[in-house]
Assembly symmetry: D3
Homo-oligomer: 330 residues x 6
């Protein structure tokens, strides 16, 4: 099971100049063979299928825990895409049925506008949907780890290329962060293979062989040590990842460390409505009015309670609400 936190892993910039062609490219990191849906789903399903968990606990814990971080990466990629698409259609006076999408004809992924509401899709940079053939779950631990190391290697390649191709601030912030955190997972799987077989895999790094510190957008994260840390994304579980994640970092030589809780994260920007594509509505203000009425009727605050980067912060994190009984069931 999971618990969900309404925060994203790292700060991304607010919307600026829209970049639909860039958003198309960033989709590779969402729904491509080596995108974040793939890393998330591979490790999740491998953890579901893990047999003899107690016997192989350090490895189970490693895979299951990294899966949890990957959810947050998938969320970040979606956030970047949504940010880059914001403003691509007019938001004020260009409401449908004006011809607001004419300038977007032949630009980027047509589904961003025709099928979706200027939002992220489970597709790659070519508009092809992610599919389950991208998941490898053989059950054989050494093989699954070999796959995972390869997957992270391919993912690093794709992120480097997207970094080079898309200079929108959101894409750069995204790839800078993901390169560092993906690098952690790449090392983690190589380490796990070393622990099981004795082969010295640290010499394979970096792969592709461009040093991470050459990417300027990675630097802030390296400076604060993000390349060394494996966070534990669970209040009480997955303790044994510490049995795998230790020793020196292959590129910097610094000692790897386990952080015994998940990153705190930050609230996301509440991206504005795009009425030309009916997201979330042709007349979003009507929904807001309904929402307020429903809140009041349910005994909640008049104001919305959510945490967003660009709103006034909710005064307290547990706003007044009608008392409810706690379920007796497990």
């Amino acid at each position: 099971m999971i618990r969900r936190i309404d925060r994203i892993a790292v700060e991304l910039p607010p919307p600026s100049e829209p970049d639909p062609a860039g958003a198309q490219a960033v989709q590779e990191l969402m729904g491509g063979r080596f995108g974040e849906m793939s890393t998330f789903m591979n490790y999740t399903i491998q953890s579901f299928n893990f047999r003899n968990r107690q016997g192989a606990r350090p490895f189970y814990d490693l895979v299951a825990n990294i899966a949890a971080e990957e959810f947050g990466h998938m969320e970040l990629v979606a956030t970047a895409i949504n940010t880059m698409l914001t403003g691509a259609s007019p938001t004020d006076d260009g409401r449908a049925p004006k011809a607001s999408l004419v300038p977007l004809k032949g630009v980027g992924n047509p589904h961003h506008f025709l099928a979706g509401g200027q939002g992220a899709l489970p597709q790659n940079s070519q508009g092809r949907p992610w599919n389950g053939d991208y998941v490898f779950s053989s059950g054989d631990l050494v093989e699954d780890l070999t796959h995972n190391f390869f997957l992270e290697t391919g993912a690093r390649n794709n992120k480097l290329k997207v970094w080079e191709m898309v200079d929108h601030p959101a894409a750069r912030a995204l790839t800078g962060y993901l390169l560092v955190r993906g690098g952690v997972h790449q090392v983690a799987y190589a380490r796990a293979l070393e622990r099981l077989t004795g082969a010295d895999l640290m010499k394979l790094f970096p792969s592709p062989r461009i040093p991470t510190e050459k990417i300027p957008d990675c630097k802030p994260y390296i400076d604060r040590g993000e390349h060394l840390r494996l966070y534990r994304f669970s209040p009480d579980d997955y303790l044994e990842l510490a049995a795998v994640w230790n020793g020196p970092h292959p590129e910097t030589g610094d000692e790897l460390e386990v952080v015994d809780e998940a990153p705190e994260g930050v609230p996301a920007f509440d991206l504005p409505a795009q009425p030309a594509v009916f997201a979330p509505d042709y007349a979003p203000e009507e929904i807001a009015a309904i929402a307020e009425k429903l809140r009041v009727k349910a005994g909640l605050s008049k104001e919305p309670t959510g945490r967003v980067a660009n709103g006034k912060p909710a005064k307290n994190s547990k706003p007044r609400r009608a008392p409810r009984k706690k379920a007796a069931a497990k």
Copy 2:
């Protein structure tokens, strides 16, 4: 972001008589168009893409929160499949390279044995991979909710059919639970549409029109009120689902209630190794020895620390481990 809990949502029976053909059928609930990957991914991506969240907060909270529960449903389906496949190949004297898989030729999904280690796959009952075309995220709130109501309706249909076709105890326990919880989500989306449009949709229930209480495996859950509760799967967020989830249940008339925390869940069974398919290894005891050595070396306990239904419980949930510094970073 998410936090992961190493427990499953509800108790499923331990392995008994293997049922590979049944496991093939249950895959429909995993990777089918209306399976749990679909519900999880639809609501997750819709929540990622949600614009003007503050304005439409009750609806954002509802979708984002149900997504979190669906992860646990996907996990349950995988667990049931893995349980049903356990023992299908010999575990003791039939280790490869004996011809241990001959009796499985032509039975069930061949990938359960040839590609995977008797584990769940992101495929449907026909062996076709789940794909991103099963996700609908138009950004238009009314449409997305209309889709979600339809999706839950199709999901209920599939679960009823799998219930009828597969009488393995794990499949029955699974579908009994999912029918009740899926019914909650079906009502939730109908309610949300009602709140936005005023249309009285409660008359559409049940759909398919077979009363839930006629399914014997649903009864225990109805008796303890699981059909009425919407759990909040977050420590601090998604409070406003209470603005939508209220009023009477369309089938029983009981008052709907929000439960202000997630279900506690139960530890899963640690399913045994299946060496004939190398899961987790041809010689799983060797991995166990390595794991123990790694634990000790890392200053963790000699015994595995995980929570499983069939192990002796970890003595305390926070076993001794080498002290680590908490990250200063967010």
Copy 3:
């Protein structure tokens, strides 16, 4: 545009012993690369895209008109599949939630039961969906005709094989008819190529080289001359197919003939409800009661008006109904 007639092209037998594995095989003729969805969609889209129609009118008329017959073939295949699936689940006392589908676990196409209501699917014999890559529409007339001849050749091969594999009466009646009518189309496209290029293609027949008259289920149709006739499926259009369809039949030497109207067809059997799969409902009698009420309220007859093979015939084909104004618009 089309007009639809609630009759099928030829009589198929009523349900008898169900044959789900046979129905799986017959799906090849529905959604396979050479199935009837393919013939229908290929000729339909080619006709939509036909340029310089007036200049090439005999060929346009031929393709457009054959497309219309293929709709009826697709309908026949679906009817045969539905017939073969009828009774595979209990209809009386085995209503869900009884375990009525257990005997069908591992039998046939699982979607026939888990996804559909024991009905035909747009899939092939392997359960893979039909897709648009099966359509060839180059716009080049000679090439499109070459394709169509090849398509009909592959279709004949598949029909012969299905005939050999499935001895259910509905499958045999179906393939016997389709082999004869498909043969007509195979000749038609070869003739059209001959007319355009002068190449003598009649020597390619039969292909596969098994004489059609060796298939006993074809004999009744050959006896009544169905292998010689090209029907005109339009009240006023496609007259020029007569400029292509003439000369001797390549196998029998009889003169080909154009029939200046479509076959009359026969009413289909009204296949019984299958409540175990909720088709059309868990309690179909309730729908019948609603339907009757709606008819009466709308000024229609109390009894259903449709034409079915197993119902008492509607007394007159134009039952009493409330007078309605004819639209003035085109």
Copy 4:
């Protein structure tokens, strides 16, 4: 079975400035998940699979009849695409092997030129083929209608977006018409659900919530009442749709009406040859000469007999032709 009429449902403008990028976008309405192939195939296959038709006759008639109209919509979309692609390659002096397609490199869907003859494809706006997974046919009447209502909702969304993005006259005329007629089907399925369950679904309209009358290209059709009429696309069948299609229109309040015959339609433009892509030939005049010779030889008129918008009308609709015997067979 069907009969085919060589006319299109509504007048579309003749070719003007070509718009290949626009044609790429319009493909979403052809082969997209919510395109006209989807509406046509969904209702067609649902009608094929309909069990207990007599018992549920009004609903069977409704679905089967709407299917027939959708064929005409699919035809209209293809016509619009073909119109928009006409002239994109040179037609006179630019015959292959001149480099006539160079300006089209990187523009629109490459298959429009490389695979097809500047014609419509069974693909979506991303160039991905339509596939059978877009068809839902559960057999459960309430569910199938729920799906159909959702499908029409998604289709309306796509049409609105294409309207906004593509301002070519053919695309505008197309979407204006389809929005009105698709709206009729959206209401029809909602009505059918209301009749079966009692839920008041009229409040869900319009969805997306932009009033139809705000779309200028819809206005002519609303003015002449096209939003109110359900045509009966059959000489003798599907009478009982009148039992469902009645009551007030949800947006205008006008009374819904059944029109007891299909729209008359109009002849399509005969789109000119595009010799650079060999459609219908590298030297189309040679085909015309062959066609004339074949007509004469078959005893038909020397002039082509077809009905086209830009030809001189055929003098009589039943030109002289060699007498043929009417088939005795059914």
Copy 5:
């Protein structure tokens, strides 16, 4: 470019008891993600795309040369499947149109009979077609080699499982040979990575961790040293693979060796016609008569000239034929 030799890499047994369900399983080694189409196509396309070949010549030569061997493996898999399917339909008195395929309904891959002529398909064990997403060609040498090592690891897993599941003599002979030769390629890619990075990867063997010598069907090949040899599949090229392929074998410690020519191979069995599926014809003897006539007319021998395991050997490998001029062109 290639030259083709009408011999297969190793002797497979002649047809015996047919095994259609086994043939379905063996398809995984043909068209599965880790099948021989994948190894062949991956290395072939990587070699096509290899940049700076001269600079990285030993690695280019290695990849390009292994590609050539994989063609022969793909051929062997097809041969095994064809052998296992031989006799599944009657060959003598059961010619179509007798119901010769009825016993095969619901057995194995239906396309083996309905679409093909009891022959191999470019599909996996689930009947899904091989596709280009199974090819990885990043251009980055270290990454491509990492992929290739992973691919061979997955391939070894699949071969072991097929060995366990299918005990037909042809399948056993096939997998015994492929496991040994695939092991050579697995070592080769690990070696290449070692040469480039210095990481000691030999400790990863075997993977899956079942010793190869435990597979009885591998033993003959190990005994004759096939696990040590890398053959050079070219008369004059790819010499530099010797710069990578050297040092001790990771399992046996024996010295690796380059063999400076390709294996001689053996003629394949000429598998008998299967007239029930029209392979190669309904009346194969008619084709044979035509063939003889054509040979004689062209000045070739009256008898067929090919090399087959079960024919009388062609008297000389260069039978008399009409003199032809050697092309002057390159």
Copy 6:
């Protein structure tokens, strides 16, 4: 089995102005339904599956031998794509992590840069992967030949269109050659059908009906007689193709001729590294240094031994190397 020759079939020009959008179009000839992967795989698999080879030897030899030539065509298409992509990213000072790919955002197939290293992909012009459904192997000889004739017809259409659209010198040289050689195969399959059935198919040429000599890039090949020759791609096998390939050419009337050996071919250009996409590395000179060291250590020459168009030729084709024993095994 095959032997591989490190030469390409015909000379293509060296890299000049990069043309990524052109490379996207040329992909149709690689991975499209009618591309060279399709011709290669169709004939290869048909030859693998060919039953009663001795009986039908001339036809088996024809198909098997043409397959071998198609490998070289697939190689040529890849070479042209790689040539056209060379230089699209900076090669000197633009090494990653500079933003070297920004100008390529929204241009061509994004996978050329994001997934691959500016290399060819097994995809079509829309970025969709080649798949096994493009292979037809019915086992029925007449049908397979009918398919192959149709396939070559479609391939000719695609090549003509690519010729028209892409004027890059590499694309023009490629299509000029392939049109002539593909034409040979088109005639070969038509001839084979004629031999089997007696139908005169030569009248179908050319198809599409544009004379080959109108394509200027075909002229050099026609002038030297390439349209007349069928090469035998095997040292000792496939002699009987001479029984089919004879008679006059349908367009020129010249006598067809068999050439008793394969074309010699030419060395390919060694395309330069593209460090911005890490092909073959971020620092390709380091690989070159390693390669040299490995060569020396293995007793090979210090200089690379390969044959490339732009290197200084290897002094002798069999450079000094450590003596190795010839394998005793077959």
